[in-house]
Amino acid sequence: MSAVLVSGLSYRYHPRGQAALDDVSFDVDGGSITCLLGPSGSGKSTILGCIAGILEPSAGQLLVDDVDLAAVPTHRRPVTLLMQNAQLFAHMTVAENVEFGLRVRRVSAAQRRQRSAELLDLVGLNGFAGRDPGRLSGGEQQRVALARALATDPAVLLADEPLTNLDPPVRRELQQQLVEINRSTGTTILFVTHDVEEAFAISDQLVVIAGGRVQSADAPSELIRRPGTRIVANMLGVGNLLVGRIDGDCLETSTGRFRIDPAHALLEVASQLVDQRHWVIHQDHVQLLDEGTTPTSNTVVGTAVNCRLVGTRVEVAVAVGSDTITVVVPSERCPALGSNVILHLPATHLFEVRP
């Protein structure tokens, strides 16, 4: 069942200005973590603003647990918003911050205290109840904000880049914590980020936004394999783009002739023989064959022109004709710069993308 259904959502910051959101539609499964991924200014935070009731859409429908939010004021919506800055109330203690949502709902003081103790325990801040939030670290402040956002058991937790300002170790720790909380409480989380790594680390579903439109929506593992559009491929860091004409079950490019899986081709264009088509293959799926291997189907010979260390692996740029193909290999297999290498591009991982 969909916890959130966004249908035909449009929004303009100025009546005669460009649309910040243009006919955006997607749904969020109940109990999942769904990431809205996109560059700055793509409209992802605007979507959260519309769901939270901070912004009024110019068109479209928003449903949370099958309830239309159109006539529901901000403070009555079954969602809470976790902002980029923790936005803690400085005149309250940590516990009072966590209890805020319950206090305005007139929950008894005893129940509030019990709930805030549970939540502070859940986010690893036992013993912080009486502290001044201004004296906490950035990570601790975001943990308090997370506990506060969860206190009222929202149907959906909207998280607007809440980890962006944190140091990488704290960030990774909180990502893990967020996933654990999602799994233990079943809270649906709609998480906005521009960080691909973060999106892949936490999400069950990815909705890629660019230019105020949904570009693709799918599970992360599926999106990385078949991004759908060039924009998504670029955003997800799928580095290898091939341009060429389809000839039967082969792709004829300046790099070489590759056998393709016809199931991976977009079917709406009939004139396959004349159109230039765009295909991608993720660098993880390109194989560097051992020296001396006889070139066979879907192999090309090129020259290693650049090596870049990425963690414990090396990203090797290989010049093939006028194109460059990137392959990722263990550091011990890194070829010498200028040496000839043989690459294999499996047909099962070559996917057509829209320009």
Binding site: A52, I54, H75, M83, N85, Q87, F89, F100
Partner: protein
């Protein structure tokens, strides 16, 4: 530097209040004597115990507190809007708001009196309150705007998304965060109203007597001891308010 200026101003104010206090309990103090010949609290006590002084104090407090509350209520939405507008538009609106304050006081007071006469409310406390709002509201707007410009509106949005109604947001989040600015605006508005002489005299048609009106009457009557006593009556509430406003802390910086 700031401490030195504050100390100098405090000393000057203390000296002025000290001289008034001595004058209020002097019996014969004529030029060029540095200190009075004799001291007596009789005139000061009689002035303070006088029913006229008590009534004036009551009227003054009712009028000035009413003006303060109404001015803050009017100024709050205006200041919120002003805090969100750009600097140029803010300057223009401030200029329009403060126009009555740069008019000659007699012209302003006469004009307001005519307007109140036309409304048929001249000579009442209500008329005086309306008249005082004209110079008081701009100050309230100015102080509140200066406070709200620094306030992060996202705190209100955050509170609303946590389930707080607009009134709960104001009560539990906004006001505690900008308390010092609101107290300063209230103190300034009270002082502006409390110190009005001409507007009170004309709008009240001489029937609404506040301590400031009594003070001016005593000053024109030529009795220095009564004048000094009434001057203290006018000044002390102002000093108390200014002290409270200066000591009111904000409830923390947003985090």
């Amino acid at each position: 530097m700031r401490v030195a200026v504050r100390s100098t101003l405090s000393m000057m104010l203390g000296l002025a209040v000290g001289v008034l206090a001595v004058a209020a309990v002097s019996f014969r103090w004529v030029f060029p004597q540095v200190v009075p010949d004799e001291f007596s609290v009789a005139i000061a006590a009689r002035t303070l115990r006088s029913p006229a002084t008590g009534a004036a104090l009551g009227t003054g407090i009712i009028v000035s507190v009413s003006v303060t509350l109404i001015a803050l209520a009017l100024a709050w939405p205006a200041a919120r809007a002003m805090a969100r507008t750009s600097g140029r538009w803010r300057g223009i609106v401030f200029a329009v708001l403060f126009l009555p304050s740069i008019l000659p006081p007699v012209g302003l007071a006469m004009g307001l009196d005519v307007a109140l006469l036309n409304l048929g409310v001249d000579g009442s406390r209500f008329a005086v309150i309306l008249a005082h709002l004209v110079p008081a509201v701009p100050y309230a707007v100015a102080v509140l705007t200066a406070t709200l410009v620094r306030y992060d509106d996202r705190l209100d949005l955050q509170a609303a998304t946590l389930g707080a109604s607009p009134l709960q947001v104001l009560r539990h989040v906004t006001l505690p965060q900008v308390r010092s600015g609101v107290v300063a605006a209230a103190a300034l508005t009270f002082v502006v109203s409390w110190s009005q002489y001409l507007l009170t005299l004309l709008a009240g048609s001489g029937r609404v007597i506040t301590p400031t009106v009594l003070l001016f009457n005593a000053a024109s009557g030529g009795n220095p001891v009564t004048t000094a006593t009434l001057a203290l009556v006018v000044i002390v509430p102002v000093l108390v308010l200014v002290s409270v406003a200066a000591g009111a802390p904000d409830q923390g910086v947003p985090v």
